[in-house]
Symmetry: C2
Subunit: 502 residues, 2 copies
């Protein structure tokens, strides 16, 4: 702490100016929440205020009883020192200023850094940084007062004052970093948890985020074309990243069986269909047996062998027909593209009936089964497709509930449009006005859906084929042609996913 | 901005002391991230530094072009002023200091506040607060210089310097508040999204959080007993809140059909069972028909009427038996407590067979059906119970992935133990050492599960009955008896949920 009353001296006005400048520095520091920028700022100002050659700053890690330094001017790696060791460690431990006028004459000085770096240390001023509770949170060390002088009491006072302000700014920056990491970690972990419901899409959202941000960054290098002026700030990239990471969050509102549907009928639907065919089979046997009895009544017992022969043949044929129909339905059930003839036959088969266990005539194939088996592409019925597509609405509703900061306020809107198409054929709103961020995300989303590992209803597609498919969609006016060109030219998949073109 | 060089003056050392004290204040302000504490601190220091009677502070809301004040000394409500209006509004608009030596002689002064409050304003100093980019972010206004003096240039300079530091601290506090709100909002929204998968538990997590935090706060008032010394800080309450809010997050890893299982067999399992009974029914008809034919062969056509009579009677009996078995199984399928006799009969029924559509002998009741229908309580098989219980492990794994801040680092551990019992009969670890936070959460979790709206497998229980059930569990050494006493005495449900004892 500085004394509240300072005696008048001829240097008073110089000190006043310096304290005033520390106030300006304090303000600049408190506005800088990025530690990687804050620490160099502190060192720059510290070097200036005590007129030294260079400064370094150590932050105290109380849990590990270590000092660490993210930035030491002229050094790039993180340094860690045990608390109490060396001059910085001692200052951190005792909280007392160390001012050394001649390093090589002082036993506390360790010349090994000089030896390894080729630097020559003459004078050292090392002061503690204290938080608002007076606890030491780190140290600032200034080396080599300019003009061959030694550090004086005024330097001590000024460096202490600067350090006190720096301590608060560092604490704020660390806290800011901590909360951001917490938020980011929570978002990522919940995306992973939700994706785990559909194992075939695991990791999709993270990859789409990497691809989309990478594509946005690639716009930086465009000097021509419609995106020559489009640039994203760091916080806009963050906004885009959250929108991409969370674009499928609404899938939590889609039932699992729909999400992972592998065939046109669900397993239990196929089981019910198959049980009905067994019942029909048994019914054919029963009808045949009843006919035999009735024939015997008419034609007499002596006709029994020929009745059996006739009925065995007829039953054999009927059962073979039933088996053939079942085989046909099993073929229709696969997620392949349905031939036109099959569709008509399914409608025809809808007229088949059998007699159930209570002797009621029943359709062999139910309308909803015909509808499901008639799906012309993929495995989803129109209702199921709508349910899957509803994930975009769920995502939007979810994201809209969240009190995004001003800088991130467009996250819901960007995610909302990721299935829209430029020709207005997308969903859920079918609007052609799509934010550029969503247009980028669309390309990356489709690319990853195509190339990611096999899904229950389709095989993974190789990189070049995926690009061909995207190219076709861009050509037909659904995807943004210029963004797709950048996606290809900047080799976004290789850059973002380390995916080798295959 | 202050000039970098200040001319020497007789007041120099006093100004130096004041600037030094502003540095100390700057440090204290930067450490205060709670806006409700920061604003009074700024006002206190501002009042002191310019030796005024009182100060007020307005923050600029650029979007709404308004100034707002959370604290005006002597006033409790939030005040909002249009930008440009009044003295504060003008300073915010122009960025220029306004220093009024005689308020009532100045046209800009609005005496309505004086009139309504009975206060008498003489002198006014109003200065802008600027952020690190020089943008005005608010104003500080000092009223009535002490000793009947007027505010001078030095006051302007000092209040500007203080305001500059205050601007940074306020910005940090607002940002801190913003990110916390974002995190909190994201957590709440994802809990809601995950709970929506099981509509019968909607809102459960939020209520458990409210109950548990309320119970923790109630410990404050205990002067005796084992919890007389237990107190939770604000950040510990926050930790407890997150743990409670997220205790069931792992349910995202449990399949929906298990989560919402209403009977012992799933609908599709019951459908398959029922289809098998229809097949068996048809088979009985077929066997009967075949026997008729065989009897005719032996006894001759003339015996046919009596054969039909005998067989109709036999078939009728067989079908009635089959129907009775099916009726029994439907009874077993309900989520009621199973009588001992039923269990033995189910095992017996496992021996029944029928001939399937391909003339193979098949069991009428499958082992997994017998197992499910034999569930003695509720609707879940042991495997399903384990799957439901696994939500605690999922929750723990999920929470452990998140980089909690140091202050919140016990969230995973607290949530992990919410199904443990003090007698070691809980899950997943079956350990009797349970953090007090988890012990509180257990009581609140069970209370809400009992009293919340009907679930598919059980009816909601009234408040007093729920307390009786909890009391029994406390008495048997599963729940913490003392915490339960506080839960009852402090009327936690009424306090936290506005639930009236019924």
């Amino acid at each position: 702490m500085l004394p509240q009353s300072v005696p008048a001296s001829p240097n008073l006005s110089r000190r006043l100016a310096k304290l005033t400048s520390i106030l300006d520095v304090a303000k600049a520091m408190s506005a800088e929440r990025d530690l990687d920028l804050l620490l160099p700022l502190i060192l720059y100002e510290a070097t200036k205020v005590v007129e030294s050659d260079r400064c370094s700053l150590f932050i105290l890690d109380r849990e590990r009883e270590e000092l660490w330094s993210k930035v030491a001017q002229g050094s790039k790696n993180e340094i860690r020192l045990p608390m109490g060791s060396g001059i910085a460690g001692q200052v951190a431990h005792t909280g007392a200023v160390i001012n050394i006028p001649d390093a090589y004459a002082d036993a506390r000085f360790n010349s090994s850094f000089d030896i390894s770096s080729g630097y020559r240390t003459h004078t050292i001023l090392c002061v503690p940084m204290r938080d608002a509770n007076g606890e030491v949170t780190g140290v600032i060390q200034a080396l080599n007062k300019r003009g061959g002088q030694v550090f004086d009491e005024e330097d001590e006072e000024l460096l202490l004052a600067l350090g006190a302000q720096a301590a608060g700014a560092i604490e704020n920056a660390l806290l800011h970093e901590e909360i951001n990491r917490l938020f980011e970690g929570f978002v990522s972990a919940s995306v992973v948890a939700i994706e785990a419901r559909d194992p075939s899409t695991a990791g999709h959202s993270g990859r789409v985020a990497d691809l989309t941000v990478s594509l946005a960054q690639a716009l930086e290098h465009r000097a021509t074309g419609p995106y020559a002026q489009t640039r994203f700030t760091a916080v806009e990239l963050q906004e885009l990243r959250y929108a991409s990471l969370l674009h499928d969050f609404g899938k939590v509102g889609v039932r699992e069986n729909v999400l992972v549907k592998a065939e046109k009928l669900y397993p239990h639907e196929l089981e019910a269909l198959s049980a009905r065919f067994q019942l029909a089979r048994k019914d054919l046997q029963l009808q045949s047996s009843r006919r035999r009895l009735a024939s015997v009544e008419v034609r007499g017992l002596s006709a029994l062998p020929s009745i059996h022969q006739e009925e065995d043949a007829r039953l054999g044929q009927e059962l073979a027909q039933l088996d053939e129909v079942m085989g046909f339905l099993l073929t229709c059930n696969k997620p392949t593209v349905l031939a036109q003839g099959n569709f008509e036959r399914l409608l025809e088969l809808g007229k088949l009936t059998f007699t159930d266990a209570h002797d009621h005539g029943k359709p062999l194939l139910l309308p909803h089964e015909i509808q499901s088996l008639s799906i012309t592409r993929g495995t989803l019925s129109p209702e199921e497709r709508r349910e899957i597509e509803s994930h975009v609405d769920h995502t939007y509703r979810f994201l809209s509930q969240i009190p995004w900061t001003r800088a991130l306020r467009r996250v819901p809107e960007i995610a909302y449009a990721h299935h829209e198409k430029l020709d207005g054929t997308g969903y859920p709103r079918a609007v052609p006005e799509i934010p550029v961020q969503s247009r980028m995300m669309s390309i990356c989303d489709i690319y990853d859906a195509l190339t990611a590992s096999d899904r229950p209803y389709k095989k993974a597609v190789p990189h070049t084929l995926a690009l061909d498919i995207l190219k076709k969609e861009a050509g037909s006016g659904q995807l943004d042609k210029d963004l797709f060109t950048i996606f290809v030219e900047a080799e976004i998949p290789r850059r973002a996913l380390k995916k080798s073109p295959a």
